[in-house]
Symmetry: C2
Subunit: 691 residues, 2 copies
Amino acid sequence: MTKNVFSALLACSLSVSALADEGMWLFNQPPRQILKDRHQFEPTDAWMEHLQKASVRFNSGGSGGFVSEDGLLLSNHHVAADALQKISTKEKNYLRDGFSAKSLADEVKCLDLELNVLQSIEDVTAQVNAAIPKDAAPAAAFAARRKVMAEIEKASLDKTGLRSDVVTLWQGGAYHLYRFKKYTDVRLAFAPESQIAFYGGDPDNFEFPRYDLDICFFRAYENGKPAKIQHYLKFSTTGAKDGELVFVSGHPGRTSRLLTVAELEYLRDQGLPFRLNSLKRTEVLLEAWSARSEENARRAKDELFGVKNSRKALDGRLGGLLDPSLMGEKVKAEADFKAKLAGSAEHEAALAAYDKIAAATKTVAAQATRQNFLEGGLGFSSDSFGIARTLLRAGDERSKPNGERLREFTDGGKESLEFSLFSEKPIHDDLEILTLTDSLTFLAGQFGGNDPLVQKVLAGKSPRERAVELIKGTKVRDVAFRKKLYEGGAAAVMAAKDPMIELARLIDAEARALRKVFEEQTEVKQQAQAAIARARNALLGTAGYPDATFTLRLSFGVVKGYEEDGKQIPAMTTLGGLYERASEMNRKPPFDLPPLWEKRKSKLNLKTPFNFVSTADIIGGNSGSPVVNRAGEYVGIIFDGNLQSLPADYAFSEKQGRATSVHSAAMYEALTKVYGAKTLAAELVTGKLGK
Amino acid sequence: MTKNVFSALLACSLSVSALADEGMWLFNQPPRQILKDRHQFEPTDAWMEHLQKASVRFNSGGSGGFVSEDGLLLSNHHVAADALQKISTKEKNYLRDGFSAKSLADEVKCLDLELNVLQSIEDVTAQVNAAIPKDAAPAAAFAARRKVMAEIEKASLDKTGLRSDVVTLWQGGAYHLYRFKKYTDVRLAFAPESQIAFYGGDPDNFEFPRYDLDICFFRAYENGKPAKIQHYLKFSTTGAKDGELVFVSGHPGRTSRLLTVAELEYLRDQGLPFRLNSLKRTEVLLEAWSARSEENARRAKDELFGVKNSRKALDGRLGGLLDPSLMGEKVKAEADFKAKLAGSAEHEAALAAYDKIAAATKTVAAQATRQNFLEGGLGFSSDSFGIARTLLRAGDERSKPNGERLREFTDGGKESLEFSLFSEKPIHDDLEILTLTDSLTFLAGQFGGNDPLVQKVLAGKSPRERAVELIKGTKVRDVAFRKKLYEGGAAAVMAAKDPMIELARLIDAEARALRKVFEEQTEVKQQAQAAIARARNALLGTAGYPDATFTLRLSFGVVKGYEEDGKQIPAMTTLGGLYERASEMNRKPPFDLPPLWEKRKSKLNLKTPFNFVSTADIIGGNSGSPVVNRAGEYVGIIFDGNLQSLPADYAFSEKQGRATSVHSAAMYEALTKVYGAKTLAAELVTGKLGK
């Protein structure tokens, strides 16, 4: 499933041909010409604005879309999983068992779910660049850039009251100010059982044909009442048709298509292998622990899903980088472009930029493991550590001028930070001890038992003893304690002598130093990328789209099957296919069906389309994105890509790569015939609450 | 489960106090004084010989014991799993479903199971050491040692017709010649369902209380008839009693108790973390693949079990090395002993030996990863590669004089090598492609895509493409082809141009070079260890037992519970407890019961002891070892150790560490009341086949 947003490195430049349904386009720079040429479609400004404002960003990662004027919105079950897990208890398992609110009063408030709706985009590139002193060293340039970005955000927030983020596009080639309307009172209206939402589990994840009802309905509230929504998508009960043009409006997290070869090689040889190693380690840990009891399984479920999902996605990406047909193309394209640059004095800087990026990549690579463990927190995996560090750093950062703080502590992000920090989400001691023990063991194995840092961290104890001591000793799982320390500032944090906060302090100087080097090298790369971008625009023109950055993007494509091992895979599956799959797999988990689906089978029109694929260009973060037709009607929801789409992080291909969606007709069929959710179904059809 | 035999490094010296039930004692140097002092037991020579000759070594790893004069022997289901997997097909799954032969004619011949029964032990230390030229360089000393060992083995084989192995004990302090009677016609008589043999699966593995019927009956044949066995153990239907003294006779694979601190630190900081990384990677791979279909699961089952079992065992061992209470003791003991040596000119060499071992460890550590991938075959995981390499090397080695060959190709081991090489065991293309793709990916990630070796191995293809090409292209899965090449020698191997053999050839020079360095450093360590051993004997006396080396050992202990988290864990579980565990876990896999066990519950005496723990000192390889009482009666079978016993690789502790056995009364109860295996049960009671 395409939820997770991965960190990656930065890079070069790409020109898009009109020969493919490629691109994650900015809403302020849509691919008008390509749409006209390829699909004879010319979206109006109103069409664009409507789709933009009906699109929802899950701040925790993922996408969604409004489908009623009364705040009803639709996302994926797996995007919702984090929120469902947090409101679940041993007695009431929303994540596993699903939920259907009988009325508004019945809807369940989420603990810390923040939704963002993009209101406007403003290009602030000139303002940002003007603030960087000419010939400044990377550290000074980075500091100046951070400062001006924080100032722009704060000024915008003060003026508009909207969440305001300056986002970096084109790897530093452009800076845009995104303003969002924010919803923090979000309530659960309907979720299916996880068994049908994620039918086929890990084995069928990223596969097609597929049979998942991966949906979840929330409602945004304001002032205790359903939010009034001007821009919502009209729900189509007939849904997408084979061969038709569709659009995806969502928030792809991160792509790496503009990386230089040096950066891709780093990912292939170090970045991805290391991350996969870490993921597989955690998967084994959580899987083994989950098997010990049902309550363990419940507690670890959302995290385990995320780990398995990332592992499968990254295995596919690494496979792409190890495929000479992809890497060979990248090497050739870069060599060709460099050859173009080589002759010209004008583009000397662009040519030199490649070496600068390679050198910066090497510097970052040399410290990457240590950075992952310390600044990335890999050595201390636990919610408690994350909270402890936030408290520690908040104490230190908030007394600095706004522009000099670490990005996550600026005034512009204050509300969101506090919303997340003071969440009442449940944190389980036993799971915390499990993951912390394992990550301390990982740390010790990585650097060796005699390493001074390891000895300092373990304090003469075994990883297990140390984890027990820290988790049992810390008070950061108490929200009132957090508030007290956050409000009291550095002095209160220091006075608390909390063992987990003290651990965070113990490693903070080194963690910050590693981050500083990383940020400086990022600045070096951004400046180099800007030079390459200028040359590219001069030589190849300016059409194109920047790499994904968890900003709103428009993708488009055609509902269309593909060929695999000589077999034609049709674009759509049906509800009937679900039951066939269950029979074929003897209904053994994860191919068993929820009881309600067994019971109501005879009521269903088994020919109803269930899941479908399209050539739209998506990636992790697009999960939950509305799929609309030319008329702007809601015809489906993105929830996955197929295995062949995984290398799309580096290069799009529509030969076999496909985006996978739940068909809106299946949603309607399931709501009415399996779940008897008549009120909800009526709201979808009318676009408003019944009176 | 304590089946697997791990490679490990070598080392120093240990003295055993009579204060614990510690020790894996040589049958020619039993702990008579300790048994007398602690347990007032004095075994006669006849008692020892009877137990020795009733004990069986599974050449594939594991132990067993004869229980009837007609060749019937008993081991663990998980030791038998390899053999059961090999005779299984999609239609008839012996491993999962179990089997009960109705008559002799019904017994199923295993494909490549070799059993060894120890007939005699001869100390050849003087002969081996006399062959080493004085002041020879390590390489020359190693070659001379390899030569004399091969000569001794060949001479013994020629003279006695028995399998003859010179084994290294005390890390090079002694060399003994072990002569075995060999059985290669071994047939399956009875196996329970894997669901009861491995009840509770990975979650309950290495845990206690426990409820596993981890047994399997085979019968050894000679000349097409049941072998006549003089020494077999009288089966006790009442079994072990709480508090009584018991003995374990089996083949512990490898312990590392005499390692120096430098060697332990290598294991803690590099050896174990690397191996765990590799295991977890394979676990995720096989688990995900198994979930895709039942047939996949069947094909991968035995290997997946082995991987999970090793992973849990090694996690426990690493936990031990990261526990300052264990490592601190090791550091202190070594420092104390070195302080004793420091004063004396006589022991100068012993003191210097520690530095030599540390230096050799460093040299080995520096090349360990590359050695694992190339010589260890980690980069090419597949049966096809293993066979290809054996064919390649057999061609090269067999033309050399016996004493100059790699150990595995000497004349002494010829029969066993051929028996294994020409096995008709099934090898599945799809599983081969899966594991080979993954290990090529692992290789590329480890050394980088631009590494010359990686490029040579991948030959311009992606790991997946290359794996498909190799597996589809090789003929080594055809036994007739193997025989032809083996008989034809190097010229035939070369002429075949088999792609997998050519891959093995491609890396062979480097693989051999790595092995050569490893062997030289092993020689350095062995000489250093011998110096330490001499000093130790002079200063502390000679009582003790060498580290385990998959040679027959006698352990002893008391049936006894232990305390955990303030709770007393009784020594025994009962059949009734099995049903309680199933209820507690809602019978969800792996806590479901086989249908026959549900059906026959009412017939069972639920108070029958099922599993029990004792203080006996065991480790991986001891699985299947008979547990006998003072009278030499068969009262149980070792199948596991508890979690607390896992650090026993490095140091024995009877505080909580326990060996886990199936109680013989439960075996008898199950055979008669669940399985209705009356003939087999009668043979157990009478010690012979019914007429």
